[in-house]
Amino acid sequence: MNGAQDLGGQMGFGPIELEENEPNFHADWEKRAFAVTLAMGATGTWTLDASRFSRESLPPDVYLSSSYYEIWARGLERLVVKYGLVTEDELKEGQPKAPAQPVKKVLKSADVATTLAKGATVDRPQSEAARFKVGDPVRTKRMHPEHHTRLPRYARDVVGKIEAIHGVHVFPDANAHGKGEQPCWLYGVVFRGPDIWGEDSDPTLTLRIDLWEPYLDPA
C-alpha cells in the first residue's frame, strides 16, 4: 500500500541523526515492546508480512511522528485485536475480560535460543520454471494496490535487468492477507540511477531491489 512506510526518494526529513553510544534500547518500554512483538510473532497467529502490513496501515501522521518501537507497539495492538486474541475493550481498559483464545504456541524462555537460531525460512520448493533469466530486461508494473506489497513506489513502471535469481519465495502480497503463501520466483533486479531519478541522478548510482515475478513484465 502507498503508506507512510514507503519512504524511498521522499524529501524533507533532514539530516541523519547519529548517536554517540547507540544503545539498542533507549527506555525500558522499548525493550518490552520489542520482546512482546517477537513473542507474539512466535505464537504463529499471523505472518511477518501481516505484521508489516499492520505497521504500514497506521495513519501517516501517526507513523511519521512515532519512534520505531512505538510503531511496533501500535502495530501489535492492531494485530491482537484483528486476530481476535484481545478485544478493543480489553485493550482500552488494560484488563482481561474475555476468555483467552487458543494459540499454536507460547514461547518459553528455554526455547528462545533455538527458536531464534532456527528462524523462519521463506524459500519454497520450485514447481514451475522461472519466467526470466539473468540478463533479461524487465519493466516493473505500474501499480498502486491497497494491499501489502514490496514493490516500492519509486521503482514502479521502470525498466531494469535481472541480475540474480533467488529461487521461489513466499509472496508477501498474498501472505500478508491470509491468502496463503502463494510462493513465486524472486529476482534481484538492477536499475540505473538515471532511469529511476532522471537526469539529476548520480550517474554512478545503480540500485538493486529484490522483486517477485508478479511485479515484473518483459521489457
Binding site: F13, I16, Y68
Partner: protein
C-alpha cells in the same frame, strides 16, 4: 496523549509507556506470552547477537580465499559455518567492495537488517532520513557519515525488500599484511558492513583503542 484521568498513579509515565505496559500485562494475563521468555529475548539481543559476529565473517573473508569464494557463492551457509544462523538471517547475500565499487544497504519499506551478523539496527538505519535518502542520494548520506568516495567509484545501493539480507564486505585496509583474523576483526566496523562506513585503518584503530 488522550488526557490524564488514567495515570493518577504514574503521572511520570508517558502515553507510550502506559500503552506498552498495558499491552504486556494483558497478553501475559491471557497466557499468550511468558514473562521469562521476554527477558530472555532482550538479554539475547543486548549481550549475544551483535556486529562482532559480522566482523568475524569479514576477517575470515580477508584471510581465507576459499571461505571468500564460499561466502560469495552462498552466504547463508558460509555464515552458518561460523554458527550465525536464524532470525533475520535466513537468506543471506554478501556483497564485496572493490576499488571500483562501493555497496550500501537500506530498507526503504521497513527495517530489514541482518540481525544474525550485525545485531539490532541502530536508530538512524530505521529512521526516515536514512530510508528516504539512501536510494536517491547515497553520496550525500555518506558525506554525513564522514565518507567521501572518488567521483568515478560506482555506488550500488541494495534496497532489502525481501527476506534476503545483505552483508557488505568492506575492502581490507592497507598496512595489514600478515595480520591474523582476530586482529583484522578489530578493524571491521558495524557501519562498514552496512556500507555507510569503511573498515578502520590500523592508525584509526590505534587512536580509538
Amino acid at each position: 496523549m488522550s488526557g490524564h484521568d488514567h495515570d493518577h498513579d504514574h503521572s511520570e509515565l508517558s502515553d507510550i509507556e502506559l500503552r506498552v505496559r498495558a499491552l504486556e500485562t494483558l497478553l501475559t494475563e491471557k497466557g499468550y506470552v511468558d514473562p521469562p521468555a521476554l527477558d530472555e529475548l532482550i538479554e539475547t539481543y543486548e549481550t549475544k547477537i551483535g556486529p562482532k559476529n559480522g566482523a568475524q565473517v569479514v576477517a575470515k573473508v580477508w584471510t581465507d580465499p576459499d571461505y571468500r569464494n564460499r561466502l560469495l557463492e552462498d552466504a547463508t551457509s558460509a555464515i552458518a559455518e561460523l554458527g550465525f544462523t536464524g532470525r533475520q538471517g535466513e537468506h543471506m547475500v554478501a556483497v564485496e567492495n572493490t576499488p571500483g565499487t562501493h555497496n550500501m544497504v537500506v530498507c526503504t519499506l521497513c527495517s530489514c537488517y541482518p540481525w544474525t551478523v550485525l545485531g539490532l539496527p541502530p536508530v538512524w538505519y530505521k529512521s526516515a532520513p536514512y530510508r528516504s535518502r539512501a536510494v536517491r542520494d547515497p553520496r550525500g548520506v555518506l558525506a554525513e557519515f564522514g565518507i567521501t568516495l572518488p567521483a568515478a567509484k560506482e555506488i550500488k545501493v541494495w534496497d532489502s525488500t525481501a527476506e534476503v539480507r545483505y552483508l557488505v564486505v568492506p575492502e581490507r585496509p592497507e598496512g595489514t599484511d600478515g595480520w591474523s583474523a582476530e586482529q583484522l576483526a578489530e578493524l571491521v566496523t558495524r557501519d562498514s558492513m552496512i556500507g555507510t562506513g569503511l573498515a578502520a585503518s590500523p592508525e584509526q584503530a590505534k587512536e580509538s583503542a
